[in-house]
Amino acid sequence: MGELAWIFVSAMLVNNFTLVLFLGLCPFLGVSAKVGTAVRMGAANIFVLVITSLTASFLNAYVLAQAPYLRLISFIVVIASLVQIVEMAIKKLSPALFRELGIFLPLITTNCAILGLAIFQTNRGYGALEGLVFALGAGAGLTLALTLMASIRERVELSDVPAVARNMGLVLILAGTLSLAFMGFAGLFTA
């Protein structure tokens, strides 16, 4: 139990996917202008991460033991198709949920956070349950980072920023400051 809690907190804060490992930067920079959108993007991310983690566990356990060199190709193809199928299923079964999350799903599929999760999970030798907790932690971390960033950007929108800084440069420096704050979590587990 303690081990699982450690995996969760580590994935969410200490090794935050976006701010410390630089995974999933495209949505982080692209979809973080409004808090509402950011939260929904985060939720969609958690969803896809969980699917990815389960898929990767399955592939690692039953398919890839004999052919590790096919890992990358099979991860990408299987995850992308599975998300596509789930997307169609949601569209059919719950149009309301699809409206909330659906538009983000195709964007997320080829996101480095998703493939990164599958690869990290494999490299660290996580089983299905550990992988699932890892995916939830990573998803929570992504959502946290997106929401924090969106809150800051909503404030920045209203402030008097010099014209030269009204581009991604300022956003990246803000991200750097957030990242600096997250470095503080590294002290959580030294004891």
Binding site: F22, L23, Y69, I76, C112, I119, G169, I173, S179, M183
Partner: protein
């Protein structure tokens, strides 16, 4: 639909600087931030990406008439993933230390949107020679950006360049530059620098476009002067005054 006509040199140089994938288009940011903590890692990643991009563009351009439109993205990704697997194995065999330092980020070249973007926007529509030129240009642009990031971060964060001390022993390294926040700061500052440079070249024609921190005084003889503040950004953009 025939693509806009461009000369071969335009195809090459566009990606190198004016449409630099990292510094202008902000594509491929994950590796540009994650593995640029030393110059050696940056160059290895740049060269690996160059290899994958060139190989993929070559194959995509060769097979463009055989790839059905509906499944083209999947086909591109399969081609890219094949080259990434090759790059992964080559790096592991030739430079095991760097392969270890880059870790999962070599595999993540697959999802570098810069590579897929070039296939979709260029290689799938043009003849092989042009597709290769475009890939060379974009790849070189990526290597340049990686090299700039890596140089700034290693020199400031560790006081070394390719592990050779350059700043003397009295220099206290800015550890933060080789930590994750340093990646964000370095790229952010580079982007601000380029934005400032672009704006310096463009002479503002309306007071509304004149930068903050520049107070404009209109003299009795109609001359316009500009008082500059001390901050670097505002001072550079004092070109607003030159206009008058």
């Amino acid at each position: 639909m025939s693509p806009r006509a461009t000369t071969p040199s335009q195809d090459f140089f566009r990606g190198v600087w004016r449409e630099n994938p990292v510094l202008v288009q902000l594509l491929g940011l994950c590796p540009a931030l994650a593995v640029t903590n030393t110059v050696a890692n940056s160059l290895a990643m740049g060269i690996a990406t160059f290899f994958v991009l060139t190989g993929s563009s070559l194959l995509v351009s060769l097979f463009k008439s055989w790839i059905p439109k509906e499944v083209r993205i999947s086909a591109y990704i399969l081609i890219i993933a094949t080259f990434v697997t090759m790059a992964d194995m080559i790096l592991a065999a030739v430079v095991p230390d760097i392969h270890k330092a880059l870790g999962a980020f070599i595999a993540l070249i697959v999802v570098n949107c810069m590579i897929l973007g070039r296939q979709e926007a260029f290689a799938s529509k043009r003849p092989v020679g042009r597709a290769l030129l475009d890939a060379f240009g974009t790849g070189v642009g990526f290597i340049i950006a990686m090299f700039m990031m890596g140089t700034v971060r290693e020199v400031l964060g560790n006081g070394t360049f390719l592990d050779i001390p350059v700043l003397g022993s009295s220099f206290e390294p800015w550890i933060v530059m080789i930590l994750p926040p340093g990646g964000f700061f370095t790229l952010g500052l580079l982007l601000l620098l380029f934005a400032w440079w672009e704006e310096r070249k463009a002479v503002p024609v309306h007071p509304r476009h004149w930068p903050h921190g520049v107070t404009v005084t209109v003299g009795g003889d109609g001359s316009v002067g500009a008082g500059r503040t001390t901050s670097a950004g505002a001072a550079g953009r004092g070109s607003g005054g030159r206009h008058g």
